[in-house]
Symmetry: C2
Subunit: 710 residues, 2 copies
């Protein structure tokens, strides 16, 4: 593992070490010493003899051994010289805190590239630049200078020091688990997200990887790694920068390109990543996945004292697609025996004050519920932990007994138990006990429900994982030499856009049936071709200068006879000359009007983060106004093409809505795959827009096609 010498470093230089308590070069020394780092620490500062009892070296070159790692706290302009010296010391890695690189724009990015190239030549890999540092807690390596980091099995990868601070604070306050690694990836100048991910995937002590991402530099490699990682351990991710303002802020923060938010979402889902919606969910979801057994069948019971929390939890879990199965008859009978008559025995179960004098009844209920064959987990909501506080102190001992029983119940049944408690703030011992047994305690009901959802999503991902989750299929070999020549010719002509017939030809060459069409350069030719295709004809202008054919008056539809064709030809030519004087008009394309069917749009865009991405949706207002679109990054296999179709809400229309015949989904699935193939086979293509594609009961018609080159 290439990052081994980073996370297990035995010798670390601190450049430059300092006595100022607000300096990173002081703080790192403190946390290395406090973390009982067992390797050698080499403070470097020519002006000092000793700092914190450690001998100071005036230069890297004076250090008496080869280095594993160096923390560089000095400004950008000092880096070249330092890397030179570190190279001589065989250093494996440098953590570069300095900013002034990619986050400042194009010039900064160049500087960053030069720096990385130089470092790599010297055999040095770089964390950052523009990072708060890195931590490998089990080895006592803490170069961030943050104290009191709770230990645990979560590896943290973030692009914001504040967010890391946030998560560490939260872990300290609300959990008994914590972190084993923290890497501030900074600008991802050298080491990328996927390389850290790979390391944490193979690290047996890491149970969950938690990520805060503003933008990925190597999105596709990240996805490939993530889809492998998710098969072994969960990745929990929060992505910011989805708004224009947010994405701009992210850009000036870490130089990240934030990409299209819907594309990220579908790509992350495909890779098995648990993407959380709110930053406040990051830590609780990671904790849940680190601690709890899997949730079977997406089915859970809610146990509550009082109707309010029960009602809200039922609303949330229903919205999130979690099942609240009916209880078996014998389960209800057993509950009835321990609960008062006004208790509600449906799921959610409301003990309705039945625990006021004996909170151990919660444990009775938990045992009864987890014995029900339809119930695979338990969410306890509301007041547990507070009976000793609300009523009498002796009740707190009974709550502690209940905590022991529920903790052991989770161990023996392997069914997850989650606890929302209003009394978490008071830190009662019963809740500490729940945590001891790995039962997470949440102070927010909505977050508790989101954690149930995440557990359910990851559990079903692990059960139902499809090999097709891979991002590694490559269809470069589907390239047809005739097409490649065409592309080269278009570029040679100085054009970026295919003409409509050229674009349709491309798809024909890739094996898609394209409707017969002919380029008429004169009125007479137009009539000839209209007769050849046997009317009813559509006519569209062909010109490299006219991109918006309809707006320029370059389209006439439904031509049923010779006269209509003649008039249309002249109208189009005259419209286009009026609209764009001097335009190079090649003629008009004559084709048969498409038969009726469902109008769809299939497109391809190049995303900032993930490259070629296929999109699919219905025509009309469904894509542009209703935003009912499915995205999937290339390659789109049959499995994912089917998934894209099913993902749009309006997909029901293909099954024969209102007595219409069903549409040929198979043809659609094939075309989506071919668009994906084309995107891979010809890297010069930047955008494809097949709009509309009319899907019939049998087959489909590409009515218009647009291809743009890079």
């Amino acid at each position: 593992m290439s990052l081994d010498r980073f996370f297990n470093a035995a010798s670390i230089a601190i450049i430059e070490a300092s006595r100022d308590v607000t300096d990173a070069g002081y703080q790192a020394l403190v946390t290395l010493q406090e973390g009982k780092f067992e390797g050698r620490i080499y403070p470097v500062n020519p002006k000092e003899k000793k700092i914190l009892g450690l001998k100071c070296y005036s230069s890297v070159l004076d250090i008496p051994e080869n280095l594993d790692l160096a923390l560089i706290t000095t400004p950008a302009e000092t880096l070249k010289g330092l890397l030179e010296e570190l190279g001589q010391k065989g250093t494996a890695g440098a953590v570069v805190l300095a900013g002034g690189f990619g986050e400042l724009g194009e010039d900064g990015r160049k500087l960053e590239e030069e720096l990385v190239t130089l470092a790599n030549e010297k055999g040095i890999r770089i964390i950052g630049p523009n990072t708060p540092g890195m931590i490998s807690l089990n080895n006592g390596i803490n170069l961030v200078g943050l104290k009191n980091i709770p230990k645990g099995s979560i590896a943290l990868l973030t692009q914001s020091g504040n967010i890391a601070l946030n998560l560490i604070t939260e872990a300290n306050l609300k959990s008994q688990t914590g972190f084993n690694y923290y890497v501030g990836v900074g600008n991802e100048g050298d080491i990328k997200f996927h390389e850290y991910l790979n390391y944490f995937t193979e690290d047996p002590e890491t149970k969950v990887i938690l990520m805060y991402v503003e933008g990925l530099r190597e999105g596709r490699q990240f996805l490939e790694q993530a889809s492998k990682t998710s098969q072994v351990k969960p990745i929990v991710l929060y992505k910011s920068g989805r708004s224009a303002k947010g994405s701009k802020t992210a850009g000036s923060h870490t130089g990240a390109l934030a990409g299209i938010s819907e594309v990220s979402q579908s790509a992350f889902r495909r890779a098995g990543i648990i993407e959380v919606e709110h930053p406040g969910e990051m830590f609780p979801v990671a904790e849940t996945l680190a601690l709890l057994p899997m949730l079977k069948d997406n089915s859970i019971a809610i146990l509550s004292d009082g109707g309010g929390h029960a009602t809200i939890a039922a609303d949330y879990l229903t919205d999130l697609g979690i099942m609240l199965p009916e209880l078996q008859k014998e389960t209800k009978a057993k509950l009835k025996a321990v609960l008062p008559s006004n208790a509600s025995l449906a799921n959610p179960i409301d003990v309705a004050g039945g625990t006021d004098r004996d909170p151990a009844i919660f444990a009775d209920c938990a045992e009864i519920l987890l014995d029900d064959k339809n119930i695979h987990g338990l969410l306890l909501v509301g007041l547990f932990g507070g009976y000793g506080i609300r009523f009498a102190q002796k009740l707190s001992f009974i709550e502690e007994d209940a905590a022991h029983r529920m903790g052991k119940l989770m161990e023996s049944t392997s069914k997850p138990i989650l606890l929302h408690s209003l009394y978490d703030y008071a830190k009662p011992h019963s809740l500490e006990l729940m945590r001891y047994y790995n039962i997470p305690v949440y102070d927010s009901l909505e977050i508790a429900c989101k954690c149930v959802e995440s557990l359910s999503i990851y559990s079903s991902y692990r059960r139902e994982f499809e090999r097709d989750g891979s991002f590694q299929i490559n269809w470069r070999n589907r390239a047809v030499s005739e097409v490649q020549e065409k592309i080269d010719n278009i570029l040679a002509e100085g054009r970026k856009a295919f003409l409509e017939p050229e674009a349709k030809d491309l798809f024909k060459l890739q094996g898609v049936p394209v409707p017969e069409s002919y380029l008429a350069t004169t009125e007479d030719e137009a009539v000839l071709y209209a007769e050849k295709i046997g009317y009813n004809a559509a006519m569209k202008v062909v010109s490299p200068d006219i991109l918006h054919k309809t707006d320029s008056g370059g389209v006439v539809l439904g031509l049923r006879n010779e006269q209509a064709v003649r008039e249309a030809f002249n109208t189009i030519i005259s419209n286009c000359n009026d609209c764009q004087p001097g335009a190079n008009i090649k003629g008009c394309l004559i084709s048969k009007m498409a038969e009726k069917g469902i109008e769809t749009i299939i497109g391809m865009k190049t995303d900032d983060q993930f490259g070629p991405t296929v999109m699919f949706g219905l025509g009309g207002i469904m894509v542009s106004v209703m935003k009912d679109v499915a995205f999937q990054v290339v390659p789109v296999s049959e499995y994912w093409a089917v998934a894209m179709i099913n993902e749009i809400k309006s997909a029901v229309i293909f099954d024969g809505f209102r007595g219409r015949p069903p549409s040929d989904k198979k043809a659609l699935v094939e075309l989506i795959q071919i668009v994906s193939e084309v995107a891979q086979a010809y890297p010069a293509i930047k955008e494809i827009d097949l709009n509309p594609v009319i899907v019939h009961n049998k087959g489909l018609t590409i009515v218009d096609a647009r291809i743009i080159l890079k």
Copy 2:
């Protein structure tokens, strides 16, 4: 004010008083004494002489004066006798804790009605039943037995004791404001939500009303009151019970009918209510609205130390529709003078570590930003409050100075300042100072952003309030006697559903142009009528026994000649006889095929909570699959009919999508209003379904109409 004697009671009986610390009859005595209630307390219990130093009465009748209020903690079966006695004592109100009423179903509801009738006969109004009690903190009245309730200007109305406990706990932990009233409304058996609301509206010490609602018994009266209240002070509301499971749970909790969630949402919005999405937002939003000045122009600046929080806040505020205006040139220049070179001077402003050695720079920035004429408020996010903790203790004094400056800045500018701080948990003095100046401090970034949104929504509501928000228009006088006769006849025939021609007639009588149509009872008549309307004809079966005409083969469209009409008539009759043997077939309705246009659906439903409600959406899959529907409770004035059309996402289609002519929105607005009128004019009508209504460039056509009676 009718509830004055409740909230300002001078004499209170506790029935029955108890020595058991877990009993409500003990706890209420404790909290009355601790709250320094200045009136007279009368514990009632025949078995006791004295409790907590207070003389015990063996019966209500022994109490030496007339009573304002009684807390009744005894079971349901004791109530009749007690009310009799309380009546003799001229008691104004009884707080009834006992359950066993409406929440148990029909029988319970009857029992509840009997109880309330009896009480009202004796001049007593009831809070509850099935309530945890009520609190009027400024008068020292606390009948809930909860201690340590923070005082403030928020009046709390809830249907769950747990949720109240939750909110009170939160206020204690995270705020310097709190509550002046708390009423557990329970089953709303007698006093309803709107009556409490009316009282709090007129109470000068109440600044915000905070509500948790499972279901409203008198929804329309509530809306009417709420729309008046919102003009004076904000109502913050969380509504649960939106899922099937949640609504069932709410039903067994307080006997509430939860209603259709989309209907509630639109009704609440119209009434100016701030409906929060998550329970965790209830208290922070109420606090925000209680403390802060209004936010002008929906425009705010974000100030941050570090990119992560800035990026996330920008994403959230953008999603929530808040503007982050560009800063003026001079503002940027002033910021540049106080911030380091790597700071980001766009909005969001990232000080990028520039406050590490002097956090008072936050106050400098705040002063500069609020001096910008485009910036009307400030959201400070991230690390403020933690500089003394992270670096050196002396920095905490500088933070305190900054807090004083920002507090006074808010006072002098009347521009709201909101603070998200990662260090709230540590309770630094600087944050206490911010709160002293009424600047709310949030520990969750997403909630801070939601609070900005609420402030913005309420501010614009107060600016732009339309008289049309009222729910009080009544169109009973639009009833036409012929229609009322028709309804009576249909009911007399034992029918619930109008026939299609009857339904269309109704709209004709209400003044809507309805296409000419004729009921043909024979094949020959069908031909006669088809000729009369001049072809192209549609033919539909008319039968009280056939509700689903298309499914029964009872519809044939596009009949262009005599032969087609004859065949269609026979096909329809034979299909319908096959499909539903013995059906009473009145004949076939002949009408002209509607011209092209946009297919819409206009309907009316009777909602559990709010009664008649109009719905509107596009035909096809837009309503049923895409859920793109607008609801509005009756009456729907012109203003709200226009709002309904604009509310659906697909509304752009009416403006002439893709070169189509624009649609006649005015005709649509009129028809929506008439549906609303019909719903009010004829209370016997339960449901109306005009589907489809085709909207043309001029006018519209009601193609099919269905009306169902109660």
